[in-house]
Symmetry: C2
Subunit: 196 residues, 2 copies
DNA sequence: GTCTATAGACGGATAGAC
DNA sequence: GTCTATCCGTCTATAGAC
């Protein structure tokens, strides 16, 4: 919201830097990333980067926002919820198609536990919001119990956990390709029998 | 299997070092951990540690094995599978009770994606094995379809993904305490209606 | 077996020229 | 706005004394 657009040229540079940083963070993690590496990929020097983002930490939070912007809420969006399973399965496919997005998420989230409070807080809020939205959508659609008997809150928690877990495992084992399909099947069971 | 017991005294030192390293890795991640920090916690100097584990990488793989040993297969073990949901829920509770185990797992796994091949391979095999065992147990119990209609393989994948995801989210949001319960409920749905 | 001392490398951040 | 040069800190790993 804040970092994207300002002065015409300056904004473009910022985007270049963020894009470079996103890739490098995904490949090497936060601690493993040197500003030099980001700078090189963006086509300038360390000081060039530090001009726009005066510290590595600032750069990190900017990248997290940038990632979220790119990955624009495939979930909990305003679609008709008839085929919610398919939508969620598509999220998985989409993130796997551009692994940087999934990887930077996994890596930064895990690293946030061992590091700065800034990133930690970002993820904390991120999940609270996402979970709240998802549960609300389910409640709106089904009331306080899904056909399967689960509460919307429990189902939302479970689905989001499964999403994260699958993405992580998929990153580890690129050979398997059946994750979206599994996700679809499991979701169908989790929601419960749909009356025709 | 290999690293635990050797000479009486030396083995004890090794365990002390591994125990210290487990905690420090959990708190700071691999890259964030200095051998000095491990040494201090174990009550000797950097060179003392390097005497037993001649490099940081060697120490890492030893710690991963140690962790696995501690967390001894709560899952896919040889219990009666009647109350499998409860068992899995208990895994979550157990790991949350000693957060180092869960945290070192999450953190090292994510970091393995950005770093060394050694850790990456460890996790790759770890999950293949775990998933195989779990699917085999389900197949043995239910045949090629669970009562819910899912295949054992799909169910195993989903459950393990959910386990990881929940542990990670729980680490992020220590306030919530309903994860084991959710896990139990969701598993009941995933397995399917149990005939009385 | 554990220590001190040191080599050798790298990363973050600042100052100041252009 | 982007560069060069530099300071200071930290890290892994080795060599050698006790």
């Amino acid at each position: 919201m804040t970092t994207a657009r300002r002065e015409g040229a300056s904004g473009a540079r910022r985007s270049e830097i963020l894009d470079a940083a996103l890739h490098v963070f995904a490949e090497r993690g936060y601690r493993g990333t040197s500003i030099d590496a980001v700078a090189e990929r963006a086509g300038l020097t360390r000081q060039g980067v530090l001009h726009y983002y005066p510290s590595k930490k600032r750069l990190l939070v900017a990248v997290l926002g940038y990632r979220e912007e790119l990955s624009r809420e495939h979930l909990a969006a305003d679609h008709p919820d008839e085929d919610w399973p398919n939508q969620v399965a598509e999220v998985i496919s989409h993130e796997h198609a551009s692994p940087w997005l999934a990887q930077v998420q996994s890596v930064m989230m895990a690293e946030s536990m061992t590091g700065d409070v800034a990133a930690q807080q970002y993820f904390h809020e991120h999940y609270r919001t996402l979970q709240g939205k998802t549960a609300a959508r389910l409640a709106e659609r089904y009331g306080e119990r899904l056909p399967s008997g689960l509460t919307p809150r429990a189902a939302a928690t479970a689905v989001l956990a499964m999403l994260d877990g699958m993405q992580q495992q998929w990153l580890l084992d690129g050979e398997r390709s059946d994750y979206p399909e599994i996700m679809r099947d499991v979701l169908a069971v989790l929601l419960g029998p749909t009356p025709v």
